[in-house]
Subunit: 219 residues, 2 copies
């Protein structure tokens, strides 16, 4: 990743398009999994699974898919940098909100079934991810929006903003994989395959988003 | 990651040193976990856990730690590029061998306890990782060692070699996290904490190795 982006001799455009196809595929699988196989969603229900289901739904489609689109905003959105920045900022706020809600629902689920919180590596990774996500959003808002730092400072900060942002995004993906893998077993037949393929497609989405960050804009 | 490495205004050296401390910490935790808590290692034993233990041991210390050192060779090894390349190539071969052996041991363990293979997301991610690792090693050997491509071709290929290499390394890390998280639960008290902290330290090692790739050599 060290060499200049030009040296890849490709533009981000084909990967931006591929990422949209992957986003559609992941969204479809998540809906099939949690609506068809797992009985849907609920805030209150006798069937506690419905409360649990909100957690992976918000995490995958909110934090990861919308978060990924936010990252790609600079390569997708036509027009000036101001518009791109606005889309980047708002999509990340949406993703962060979905992530926080998703965590609220898993605590709620644990509370309903009387399970202890924060026991697993998945939960530790998740709390670290959401904390860094929030921190990164707030710091970047101060530095790049309001009140906004000096231009030279912004420039110095930018590579670190991008690096830390990518670390947080890939951390979210790794956390999702640990979460999905806790339930994945082909002994569950169709459901197991859907879980495994959801994991693989999320991974492919993450790789594609990373490529669009490295490669130059195509138009 | 798109901007030039100079713009980070830091050299890789402090991160190379930090990575060594993390490598020592992970190695210590893995030894404590599998020797003290899990009863050690065996190729044949009535205690099947001892056969299983070889798998995470080889994967974490072989594929991830030695693999990470191989990646950092260009920032660690003093002397000319030829020496660095030799160290990079040999350490990756060691890591790959450890990875293949680690997979042999998990198939052996499944066979001994009569479990089905390749059921989980962890196993799918693992097989993909080791296949890509082997492919990347062989292709890079042909391109950069023997017979070796034209100089201009090597240059064109290099950013992709680095990008694909980092994808494989981070894939190995994500796979390890899904593996560890399958056993992590603080209800296991001390052992649970060791598992979770091993996961976090592996993650920190991965981030640090990635930084050393992006940042320029310090001396």
């Amino acid at each position: 990743m060290a060499p200049k982006s030009r040296s890849y001799q490709l533009s981000a455009t084909p990967f931006v398009i591929f990422a949209q196809l992957l986003a559609i595929a992941v969204t479809t699988l998540v809906f099939v999994l949690y609506l068809h196989f797992e009985g849907g969603f609920a805030f209150e229900s006798e069937d506690k699974t419905k409360i649990f289901n909100v957690h992976p739904f918000l995490m995958v489609l909110g934090l990861i898919i919308i978060g990924g689109e936010a990252i790609m905003a600079y390569k997708i959105v036509p027009g000036d940098r101001r518009t791109q920045k606005g889309v980047h900022l708002i999509l990340h706020l949406l993703a962060l909100t979905a992530g926080i809600l998703g965590i609220v629902f898993i605590f709620r689920f644990h509370n309903e079934i009387g399970a202890k919180d924060m026991q697993t590596l998945h939960s530790w990774l998740g709390i670290i991810t959401i904390s860094l996500y929030g921190l990164q959003w707030v710091l970047a808002f101060f530095a790049y929006c309001f009140p906004g730092g000096e231009m030279s400072r912004r420039g110095t900060l930018l590579p670190w903003h991008i690096f830390v942002g990518m670390v947080i995004f890939l951390l979210a993906v790794a956390t999702a994989l640990t979460g999905l893998s806790g339930f994945s077993n082909l002994l569950l037949s169709t459901k197991g395959y859907i879980l495994n393929f959801t994991g693989l497609l999320i991974l492919l989405f993450a790789i594609t988003v990373t490529l669009t960050v490295i490669l130059p804009r195509g138009y």
